[in-house]
Point group: C2
Chain length 304, copies 2
């Protein structure tokens, strides 16, 4: 069978999540940074997934991946249990608390890029240990644009490696609070300037329901979030955003300022769909027509 060459490689975690909101609770639903990021990206470009699952990973979840059309050559299946995460959204969804984390097979994860992925021009290092992100950077041959995400944990326990990652990527994406934590700067513009000084051409700061900001050496771009009627599960919003963002860039092929702004719009809209339902349930049903309509509505809301 002839497969489309992978244009975008995404490396990250795959988990079975138990998620409670003030209204509903779901057990062991498909999640993890790489699941959401690939789902967000796959609407735009051929995407290859690099991650690990245990021998308990269900066929129905694999079928969900296949339904999106991800290339799964980079998916490792290891003897043992899949990574588990459990969390609860409290205070009217304003606060997320982790109840438990079971690393399982993820503890020994060594990302390995299949030969067919190593020429891919776009790479998204979703949130995993910086040491693993570095090992992926050694495997990719001709990257045109590399995006990395991170989290508080790595700022605390693996700062030296994280800084090595930051030095080598084109765009670093992180949450508002993480940007403050990592730089010690309260004002985002100062935090971003410091981070730009560490190497990347672009810093993409995610502010959840308040949108995102792209700081580049040549300018700043402010993107509000799409105003939703209902959020049923915020899990994976940031990863879906990043996936849509880099998927759109990969589709265009060129990373111009205009392309970056379009990618912010696309990432925001993909994330807005994702939070409408648990797991990948909304993205699975998303049609091109719904996507295009929301892009149009959203652009009207931004027209100065």
């Amino acid at each position: 069978m002839n497969k489309k060459p992978v244009e975008l490689v995404v490396v990250g975690s795959i988990g079975l999540d138990t998620v409670a909101t003030p209204w509903e609770r779901r057990e062991e639903i498909l999640g993890g940074s790489v699941s959401f990021a690939c789902a967000g990206a796959s609407f735009f470009a051929p995407v290859g997934m690099v991650g690990v699952v245990g021998s308990d990973f269900g066929k129905s979840d694999l079928d969900i991946y296949r339904g999106f059309g991800f290339d799964l050559d980079g998916l490792q299946v290891r003897e043992g249990r899949t990574f588990r995460w459990s969390g609860v959204y409290e205070d009217n969804m304003d606060n997320r608390r982790t109840l438990s984390t079971e690393l399982n097979v993820f503890a020994e994860f060594q990302p390995e890029l299949p030969e067919s992925y190593r020429q891919a021009p776009f790479l998204f290092l979703a949130n995993i240990a910086p040491a693993l992100q570095l090992s992926v950077l050694k495997q990719i041959r001709k990257p045109r644009f590399i995006v990395a995400d991170t989290m508080d944990l790595w700022i605390n326990v693996a700062l030296a490696d994280l800084k090595k990652v930051i030095r080598r990527v084109d765009l670093l994406t992180l949450n508002e609070s993480e940007a403050r934590h990592l730089t010690g700067e309260r004002m985002l513009i100062k935090a971003a300037r410091k981070l730009l000084g560490w190497g990347p051409q672009h810093i993409l700061i995610k502010k959840g329901e308040h949108g995102a900001v792209l700081f580049s050496k040549r300018g700043t771009f402010l993107m509000p979030a799409y105003p939703l009627e209902e959020v049923n599960d915020p899990t994976g919003a940031g990863d879906t955003f990043a996936g849509g963002f880099i998927g759109q860039l990969a589709a265009g092929g060129k990373v111009t300022e205009e392309a970056l702004r379009r990618a912010m719009l696309v990432g925001t809209v993909m994330a807005s769909f994702n939070v409408e339902a648990f797991s990948l349930n909304r993205l699975r049903k998303l049609t091109r027509r719904e996507f295009t309509r929301r892009i149009g509505e959203f652009k009207k809301m931004l027209l100065v």
Copy 2:
């Protein structure tokens, strides 16, 4: 002396504020909703101020008002002390706590519009008791566009009057948390829809450092905040925003969708200057050139 006819009337509070930030403390500096709103508006349209001060109100503060060129025919001076407010910004400026409030002459405030104000086409009812806002509505003759602000206190203690005000204005502006409190809706789009059902054509929800959203019967407009390097005193940001917003509308004269969007831009930029210094200190020094330059920079950050 021939004065320019007042195009915009602003009614609200005048106070001497004692403000502490994590870095600095200032005592008895000029503040109050009407001060900030008039300052924000006066760059664009002839504005008449309606408020009350005590016999202790200093000549230097009056001179600040005169420096902005406000019409002061509506300013009442009463025997007694001027309203005092004291507050502290905590947790890296994220949280404001009121330490004390002394109503003084403000307790007996009865807003009275001078004859020359009653034909003004634009009216901003800044945050005061809804009963007083209603009394002003009886005095204005040919309003073209009325904006009202409010606060949590009135939602708690004067809801019936507040709803009467809301029914009679063209635009209601309030904070994100107040919109939620007033409607019982967590999602802003639902809160705004409910409020639109109560009468106004437009609901302007302020989100502080996350910007503002204008919900109109015909559409939604999302406006991020201008990203600042430094915030030295957030006091009055919302009032300056509203002042700039309605001042810009009054300058144009017509309330079209395009005019409303331009007014959001102008309000945001005026507020961004205001928070750079305590009291009206930054706005007093603001030049047309600085304003125009920041508008230009800001528009570039918004271009989708």
